[in-house]
Symmetry: C2
Subunit: 621 residues, 2 copies
């Protein structure tokens, strides 16, 4: 039996197995110059090393070496999805409008969605994610609680018409994503499915050799109750996140400000309005306050002022709403945090037309009295007919008893000693202010540290949003219809590849981890000696026979210097050089990074290399 | 070494290898009823067996079992491409307009192309094929004859906005295609590359167990000098092709009519015009001719008449041209053949407006005298200024000396004994008439046989069309720029899967060849006996350990009848039943089609099945 056991697998391997890739015929050209549009190392080096080429903004073609790396990343993702019990399916990229209309995402995605019409003027889109289709497919096939739980996934090309595609594969418009979706009858089931995916993500990034941080995140257009991001830490990352000494980690959009205790205000002086001419900015206000209205104990600073920032929201139904956000004057409003806070509305700074509609907002001198409950007529509910007051939301630090200098709703006038909870109120709080290194952590463990990362994965406990919109319910154990609860789990596969390149390179080029390298060994033959090339070809073939993937630089008229430069640029982890040493019966073996060069007797080199390759692959599991 | 040799491969297999698929949790539901929109067996059965689901017209989602089959078909295609020396790359599906504008295909593809705009109103398309991008990539990387030849391929999702998507996967709007492109410096190189791909296609379809016929074809929108199609013969195929006893085979669009010898016409009587009232059709003309103008030796038949059919061409530049095609009255004009003959123009029957522009065309009574050279002024060249005559093209059978009854350009009048080459001429010949079974074969080997098939592959010797349009040249051995010559080679991967289903099914369901089946073995446990399920689970695990892919029907409350029906519908080639026989120590093993059921001792069943699976896989190579 043993002889027969893997018989057809071996015949498969014989037919298609790893022949050495020969540089003389491989479809690749390396570039010595950085591409003009490349801002980050992964972009620069993947193009220079001949892994990818730009086809249009944010849209890339994959050359043979790039495709090999991509296939290996995809394989790890697939294996761990299957190991976690997820089943692979595959949906179209071109989809009809209707399901996305039903969930509101046809509109919510705005200009980020590629939309088109077919020859019959039917509306279609190129899918950015596939929640709707998965929901409808489960609805099509399943009807009972006995069918659940189920987790499905696909590896599929996704489309997003990014306003600013950038950084090569990191923010593209056509990219490969693994998206998985779980379906459960109850919250406990969803939690188990969510944790199974979370654990699978950890195994995936561990196996890829990709460092990551799991941070609390906001759910954005996806909706749902809770989400976490997997970030690969790097200075060029687009996402800023915080970490506390105690292990709290969150995307900056999701950071929850610890609320200070309320302060007593019985002894506080009454509020008083003062002339503060020409003080439309916080800096000018602080200067004038210290010059003309100094306090005895210490100087006024920006932290003593309350800045009221006017924003304009565009809601999904198209209506425009002006809101005012009050933050301590020493902090900027972080538009990303504001955007997350007001999802699904779009947020921008209010414009002239917005101010014209609200003459009570005196630009540069806006105070709480013109806003929210302070301005609302007695007994008028927020948002009711007759409510002409704009919504007013405060930073969580503006607790009862805090005392502020803020606008007095008249040009050149500010109010001093205005006490929150005594002199003014708001419609609620909002996480609008910037997060700063050193801010107290929500877990109380100390100051927050700020860092940047690339979002390589995002997992969402969606809940019932999609199931409700699309009518996905099953009969429960009592025969009663119950809405299914869902999770959604994405890995940016092409982006993870870019993150790997970011994390594994030096000035000379790429330096792939063994599991994802386009080959295990880069074999270089140097010089012009026919015996060298014969020996190298023999080693290449013998390694290939042992299952080692060899990239063999057999180019006859290329100098050793160019070959070594290319080997550094391409980034295969182990370099074997057959050259002058052959006369003395030795071959050089050296790792691409961080290790000693060894002279190995030519008779031992195949065994030596197989051993090293096996070891490095097994280390990654 | 041997112990180490495949160490990491085995660890790979352990982690991700073929666990049994369990029907109790597999994401699949079989349907007893045919879907309403399914016209053909492959569509009907792939939906019923839970392999695919319709997402939109001509756009399908793939369920786990379908995806397994698709992955196996893709793997065979990939392996043979690599074995033939082609290198895999991957292009975007979403592409900018410019390259397709440069080759004219942005316009030529007409409504078949999905077009869209991005947020900056840039024009994009969903690629129907990728000639342009491959050409540009080779231009980007290569510059010397030394770099060539090279053949590149991809397996990619393609888009065509078909007017009438039909037959499930056979004519879809989003589908998977393997497209390869060869680049050579000269015709001999192109011929070698073409033959290498042709041979690879033969191996692919042989390994898939898919019968095929290679037929001469026309090149259509692709352009180029020569092409062949691979057709899978089936009565439900959309393509009609011919075969001769001598081995000639051609798509019906490409059939070349053997030209008969010219006939002597010295003794022919002079042409004479006769009254033939109310004879606008061939049938009415033949009747009146026999009644009022009989000839002595035999009756007139439709074959004695020359039918002049008015067509309107729309050229790629938008201009409209009326042409007249003359064919023997006993043959219809085949619009597909006409369309191929006039590529890249679009062809339709002339309308009232066309006739209004050409009052010399007397509907129902059109004769050669009003057409082409017969109507053109002396010394006027066809198409020149002053040429008001419509182009006139004749069926190749209308050779000099043939004698015809045809229109006399006046209502109710026909001319008799009009002799080709004596009384009229034409601007050329056209392959417009239908091909019929029994027609003489071009190779002279006897009558043609007609059959239908599904186009599963198409190979084109493109020549320099794309390289010229996009400026792809290399320096030749003398340092002179020479235009590269190309081939283009496509396999409809999803369509090939449908063709496999068409060729391998019966009334009860699918019956996959071993290489592409979603599993090697369908193991069914019947009854309620716990021992039966335990034994079946053990067999499933042991088979899986031996590398056999097992689909295990472990559903506890499903009747044996339903399980057997599902096994027939799903179409795994080998069925193993663990049931009542277990008490007597035997298990039933039976092929899905065409073979005896065997009772195998339970202790031997794993070895027995491994042997059978190995044998069936090895037979296909």
């Amino acid at each position: 039996m043993v002889a027969r056991r893997y018989a057809w697998r071996m015949s498969f391997a014989r037919r298609s197995g790893p022949q050495p890739l020969r540089m003389s015929t491989l479809f690749v050209r390396t570039l010595r110059e950085d591409p003009a549009d490349a801002e980050v190392a992964s972009h620069r080096l993947l193009v220079r090393a001949g892994y990818i080429r730009r086809a249009a903004p944010g849209i890339y073609s994959w050359l043979p070496l790039g495709l090999r790396v991509l296939a290996k990343v995809e394989a790890v993702v697939r294996e761990e999805m299957v190991a976690a019990g997820a089943q692979e399916v595959h949906f179209p990229a071109l989809l009809p409008r209707e399901p996305y209309e039903a969930t509101g995402r046809w509109t919510e995605y705005g200009p980020n969605l590629f939309r088109l019409q077919d020859r019959k003027e039917g509306d279609y889109l190129l899918a950015p994610t596939h929640e709707e289709m998965f929901t409808l497919l489960v609805k099509d096939l399943y009807s009972s609680y006995k069918d659940l739980p189920v987790t499905l996934f696909q590896v599929q090309t996704k489309y997003r018409d990014e306003a600013r595609p950038r950084a090569g594969l990191i923010r593209g418009r056509e990219f490969v994503m693994k998206d998985a979706y779980s379906f459960d009858v109850d919250d406990a089931g969803l939690e188990a499915s969510y944790q199974a995916q979370r654990a699978a993500y950890q195994r995936i990034f561990d196996r890829l050799g990709l460092e990551y941080v799991i941070v609390a995140a906001t759910s954005g257009a996806m909706g749902g109750s809770r989400s976490e991001e997997f970030l690969s830490p790097t200075a060029i990352g687009e996402d800023t996140f915080v970490r506390s000494p105690g292990g709290y980690a969150a995307n900056v959009e999701a950071v929850v400000t610890p609320v200070p205790d309320a302060l007593p205000f019985d002894d506080a002086p009454a509020a008083h309005v003062e002339d503060t001419p020409d003080t439309p900015t916080i800096a000018s206000l602080v200067e004038v306050a210290n010059a003309q209205h100094p306090r005895p104990d210490r100087a006024w600073t920006a932290a003593d002022t309350l800045k009221n920032v006017v924003l304009a929201l565009t809601h999904p139904d198209g209506t425009r709403e002006v809101v005012v956000v009050g933050v301590p004057g020493d902090r900027e409003v972080d538009l990303k945090r504001v955007a997350a806070a007001f999802e699904p509305a779009d947020v921008e700074a209010a414009g002239d037309a917005d101010f014209a509609r609200h003459p009570e907002l005196v630009k540069g001198y806006i105070g709480p009295r013109a806003l929210g409950p302070n301005a609302r007529g007695e007994g008028v509910e927020p948002g009711a007919d007759g409510d002409t007051a704009v919504r007013y939301l405060l930073d969580p630090r503006v607790v009862a008893g805090t005392r502020w200098i803020t606008g007095a709703d008249a040009p050149g006038r500010h109010v001093f000693d205005l006490v929150a909870g005594r002199d003014f109120a708001a419609d609620g709080t909002v996480e609008a202010a910037e997060v700063r290194a050193g801010d107290p952590a929500p877990d109380g463990s100390g100051p927050l540290e700020l860092a940047r990362g690339i979002e390589i994965g995002h997992i969402f406990a969606l809940g019932t949003k999609y199931a409700e919109a699309l009518g996905l319910s099953v009969l429960d154990v009592n025969g009663k219809a119950t809405t299914v609860t869902m999770g959604s789990y994405g890995i940016g596969v092409t982006r993870a590849l870019a993150a790997l390149a970011e994390a594994n390179h030096d000035d000379a080029g790429l330096a792939w981890p063994a599991h994802v390298a386009p080959a295990h060994v880069h074999l270089v033959a140097t010089g012009k000696d026919a015996e060298v090339f014969e020996a190298a070809a023999r080693i290449a073939d013998e390694l290939a026979e042992q299952g080692v993937e060899v990239l063999y630089d057999d180019r006859p008229k290329v100098s050793p210097g160019v070959k070594f430069k290319d080997a550094e640029l391409l980034g295969v982890p182990l370099v074997v050089v057959v050259g002058r040493g052959l006369a003395d019966g030795v071959v050089e073996v050296r790792p691409r990074v961080g290790g000693e060069s060894e002279q190995v007797p030519v008779a031992d080199v195949v065994g030596h290399v197989v051993e090293r390759v096996s070891t490095s692959l097994e280390q990654l599991g």
